[in-house]
């Protein structure tokens, strides 16, 4: 493979292990990830430089002077809200905010059913702010909407999403919610997620968990409701206590996401249950009543920590529950790491090794014929950085050449994974971008055979003649050994016939000028570190987020 390997010395490796996290659970609204983790959303360069810049905290200062539409944290914040069983979501804003939410209806119904959960329809309201409310404030309408939602559906929770417009005009949703708490049966969850406030839209997950921890949900079981207290006079008292403690000490909570499917959960359950652990899944597709048993476990584990770190940090602080952020279990090496870390916590290393060795051997044999067909094929991967990195390792596992990576955002929580990528795949071209102009530019230069893309961008791959499969989808399995095999099969199947994208690319016109393709894809990314982000103690600010090694 053409990538140049870079020697990373021990001191640098140590530096790269540091993680940036500054959160405050007590504030009304959480800070965006640009602040709390120095998460970057604009960058062009390579893995080595990316990781260094994340360490310095200066990725967050990079901006674009030409940009295109993308996602907002408000849209992303709806995802958890809808997938909480029997919830209602209220968009406090003009009629367009959240108007894409009808599609959540089948998402939660179908993927709930796959988990054996009968979900209600996606139920949501728009406060429908008009010009008058933009002048006079929309609090009255919000109050009316909350009361209507509560009366109409008796929901398990009401998530109130603050959009851009009421945020600027100064609606105080916390006061409205506080006032109404005694009048509604549903817990009211304030979500401060105006789109303009965060360019790193995964800030939405922090917003939702911030709202959840402030809404008064209970995370400990209720005696006589959730369990029968053991009577000290019971002759079997000690045995029952031991039994209870054994159960709890062998229970692990895994945290899911809308991007994670029922089959993924089933595969991770299979592997961990094989070690004798009791596995439960939170918070999506569960009812807030179920959350009372969250603390009845020995350990919390994020299946994708981009999603859940904030909540796990809260549970640790509030209840002393330990947590792990192993990785996202896509591909053999990441699955091994995921299971091994959990096994180590429970002292099951030996059992884990035996299980994983056996599973890996079986997978290796199964992948052999696929490997023969796909080896040397070039792939480009784009989306959330944990998915991108682990899918990259899987592509390498089946002999493909990863020619480029496009992370939607990036911070130090990716360094462990991307260090592994640098060690195994080399210093490959890497961007932080969800911009389609940058994508088409990069793809034209890297000329991949196939792409693995976040929803919404696969179209641009196809327009360029590159077939694209989804980076995540509830329809398919991605996690564990089954997921590795299935993802490899999908790559193999897609490469077997490229007619669709080839035909499309020959017959459509791209909305991009020829001159654009002559420029570097990161041409419009500039370093505004000084203006925007306050310096991080102990780090030098700057460092240049513009790509340094000419890698594309």
């Amino acid at each position: 493979m053409p990538e140049k390997k870079i020697e990373v010395d021990e001191a640098k490796r140590k530096e790269r292990e540091k993680r940036i996290l500054e959160i405050n659970f007590d504030t009304k609204m959480p800070e965006k990830r640009e602040i709390t983790r120095r998460t970057g959303h604009s960058y062009g360069g390579d893995v080595d430089n990316l990781v260094d810049n994340a360490c310095a905290g200066c990725l967050a200062g990079c901006e674009r002077v030409f940009s295109q539409s993308s996602f907002c944290q408000m849209g992303v914040a709806t995802l958890i809200g809808f997938s909480i069983k029997d919830s209602v979501v209220i968009m406090h804003g003009p009629i367009g905010c959240g108007s894409q939410s009808h599609s959540m209806d089948f998402t939660i119904r179908l993927y709930g059913a796959q988990r054996g959960k009968q979900m209600a329809n996606a139920r949501w309201f728009s406060t429908n702010l008009s010009e008058a409310e933009v002048v006079h404030g929309g609090e009255k309408k919000l109050r009316e909407t909350i009361l209507m939602a509560d009366k109409r559906f008796r929901p398990s929770a009401i998530f109130v999403l603050m959009t851009c417009a009421p945020s600027v005009i100064g609606d105080d949703i916390d006061s409205v919610l506080d006032e109404l708490r005694s009048e509604t049966t549903a817990p009211l969850v304030p979500l401060h997620c105006p789109g303009f406030k965060a360019k790193v839209f995964s800030s939405a997950y922090d917003v939702v968990y911030h709202g959840i921890q402030r809404a008064g949900f209970q995370f400990t079981p209720e005696p006589y409701v959730d369990f029968e207290p053991i009577d000290v006079n019971d002759p079997l008292y000690e045995l029952k206590v031991k039994n209870y403690e054994y159960q709890k000490n062998h229970t692990v909570n895994l945290y899911n996401a809308v991007s994670i499917g029922a089959q993924d959960e089933a595969e991770m359950r299979r592997l961990l249950e094989a070690l004798g652990l009791n596995v439960r899944f939170f918070v999506e597709f569960s009812h807030p009543d179920d959350w009372r048993t969250i603390t009845e476990a020995a350990l919390n584990v994020a299946m994708c920590h981009v999603h859940d770190l904030y909540f796990l940090e809260y549970l640790k602080k509030a209840f002393g529950m330990p947590y792990l952020l192993p990785t996202i279990p896509v591909g053999s090496s990441s699955t091994r790491k995921f299971v091994e870390e959990i096994a180590a916590f429970f002292g099951l290393q030996k059992e884990a090794k035996a299980l994983l060795d056996k599973e890996e051997l079986k997978l290796k044999e199964a992948l052999a014929p696929i490997r023969e067909r796909v080896k040397g094929k070039k792939v480009i991967i784009g989306g959330g950085y944990m998915r991108v990195g682990t899918a990259g390792l899987l592509a390498d596992e089946i002999g493909m050449e990863v020619v480029g990576m496009r992370n939607f955002n990036y911070d130090t929580y990716g360094n462990e994974l991307f260090q592994e990528i640098e060690d195994t795949l080399g210093n490959i071209p890497t961007a932080i971008s969800n911009q389609s102009s940058e994508l088409v530019n990069m793809v034209r230069k890297l000329n991949p055979d196939i792409a693995i893309s976040h929803p919404g961008l696969g179209i641009w791959m196809n327009k360029l003649g590159v077939p694209s499969i989804a980076l995540f989808s509830q329809r398919f399995t991605f996690f564990g050994y089954k997921g590795a095999y299935e993802l490899a099969r999908r790559i193999d199947r897609t490469l077997a016939n490229r007619s669709y994208s080839r035909n499309l690319s020959r017959n459509i016109e791209l909305p991009y000028t020829d001159e654009w393709f002559e420029k570097d894809y990161d041409h419009y990314i500039v370093d505004k570190t000084g203006d925007l982000i306050r310096p991080l103690a102990g780090f030098s600010v700057g460092g240049g987020c513009r790509r340094q090694a000419a890698s594309v």
Partner: protein, 448 residues
């Protein structure tokens, strides 16, 4: 644009900017530029996707240039950022027309986007501008405003009109999910009358067509509500007369539509008769074939129609006047003021229903179902009582639930439609009427 004072549960449209972006995305080689937050363009593209998998198209969704204003722009103003974007956009994006729009945020903070554009003139490509803050109205309103500005700022005012040239207005891309098929069928029919037809928003339309639209002698507005204000403005600015009519669905409505337009334009009656005879003969040749299955399965249904102000009455009319069903309720799901409701009521009253359905104005999804459940209960303790059965629901995909309650099949025809993809399919005209018949019967045969 009046917007109701009520909050809405599961609204069946998006905001003004949503309508502007969906419409801009249907114009040939057109690049919209949003001066707003980063999520506006992306989220509203996802909303438009609910119009039968509408798609990104030429430069939609993630390709839409957007200033992605952040906190500092909200505090200090976003004009500098817009200038920056406009200075680069022509180097990156290729297009024949660029449409700069504002969004809620930039309208609220009072950015003078027009001044920024003016200060950069001459720009290398035609650029039009409109304020499109989402709180100003809904997607239908956005469509109308964009069409208006397209004429005012881009389409030349032609003194000399072409007698044979007409423009079709009123169908809103994505939010009228069958707009392409419908416009193409109506074009096909009008072409047979010797007319040249600009649809502005279907495949095959070019900027030459757009620029020639000012030479048309008639704007045909296929909606009682949308595009009407634009047509009135265009009459003032371009001197093009306009006519407002219902979207014609099926043979009965389409024959009347063609005669109405022909009369308006003074087209030879013999030609009109010939065209209609040929179309009707062909139409009934197909209907004839469908009659076995219709007769043998007692195909007649009670029907509930749930659609926007453009589509609801034409569909109900087709069901009653054309295929002899009994529509019981017609729900108009748009947010309409008194005057607009009156327009719809008049159009409704003009339909010669065999059995008049009930016309209900309701935007709220829960209340639509509640209205039917409470007024025509499906379950009573009595032994004998009339129900809406056999029932058929024509509505949006959300109506799956109502169809379950009424134990009947359903056909998704109105926004949001997210369980089918709609490309060429249309229900207007003769061919559309047949397609609708196919789909209505197929929905009943699907469980076989």
């Amino acid at each position: 644009m009046s917007v109701s004072e009520r909050p809405i549960e599961r609204p069946r449209y998006s905001c003004m900017l949503g309508g502007v972006l969906a419409t801009a995305g249907a114009l040939p080689k057109t690049v919209p530029i949003v001066h707003g937050a980063q999520g506006c363009g992306g989220s509203l593209a996802q909303a438009a996707m609910l119009g039968g998998c509408y798609g990104t198209g030429y430069a939609g969704n993630a390709a839409v240039p957007s200033t992605n204003i952040g906190e500092s722009e909200v505090i200090f103003g976003g004009e500098t950022r817009l200038r920056e974007e406009l200075e680069s956009v022509f180097d990156v994006m290729k297009g024949d027309l660029f449409i700069v729009t504002t969004a809620c945020m930039t309208d609220i903070i009072g950015d003078d986007a027009k001044a920024v554009i003016d200060s950069l003139q001459p720009l290398p490509k035609p650029v039009i501008f409109l304020e499109a803050g989402g709180f100003k109205g809904n997607s239908y309103y956005g469509y109308g405003r964009l069409i208006e500005e397209l004429f005012l700022q881009y389409i030349p005012r032609a003194k000399k009109k072409r007698a044979d040239l007409v423009n079709l207005l009123g169908l809103v891309p994505a939010y009228d999910p069958f707009f392409r098929g419908d416009l193409e069928e109506i074009s096909r029919l009008l072409q047979q009358l010797g007319l040249t037809v600009n649809t502005l928003v279907t495949a095959g339309q070019s900027h030459a067509d757009l620029l020639a639209a000012g030479e048309a002698s008639l704007n045909i507005v296929l909606s009682r509500l949308y595009g009407v204000d634009a047509a009135a403005t265009i009459k003032e600015s371009h001197g093009i007369d306009y006519t407002v009519t219902d979207l014609p669905v099926g043979a009965v409505a389409t024959e009347a539509f063609l005669r109405e337009i022909a009369e308006k334009l003074g087209i030879d009656k013999a030609l009109v008769d010939r065209v209609i005879k040929r179309e009707v003969t062909s139409y009934y040749n197909y209907v004839d074939r469908a009659t076995d299955i219709i007769a043998d399965t007692d195909f007649q249904n009670y029907a509930v129609v749930i659609a926007n102000g453009t589509e609801a009455i034409p569909y109900a009319k087709y069901l009653d006047n054309e295929i002899g069903w009994i529509p019981t309720h017609v729900f108009v799901t748009d947010d309409l003021d008194e005057d607009q409701q009156q327009v719809i009521r008049s159009a409704f009253d003009a339909v010669p229903f065999e059995t008049s359905p009930e016309l209900v104005f309701e935007t709220d999804t829960f209340k639509i179902q509640q209205y039917i459940e409470q007024n025509t209960p499906q379950f009573l303790a009595d032994e004998y009582y009339p129900t809406i059965s056999p029932a058929f629901v024509l509505g949006s995909t959300i109506e799956r639930r109502l169809a379950e309650v009424l134990s009947g099949p359903f056909l998704p025809i109105s926004f949001p439609v997210y369980n089918r993809i709609i490309l060429t399919r249309g229900y207007a005209g003769f061919r559309g009427g047949l397609t609708l018949l196919e789909d209505l019967i197929s929905a009943q045969l699907a469980p076989r």
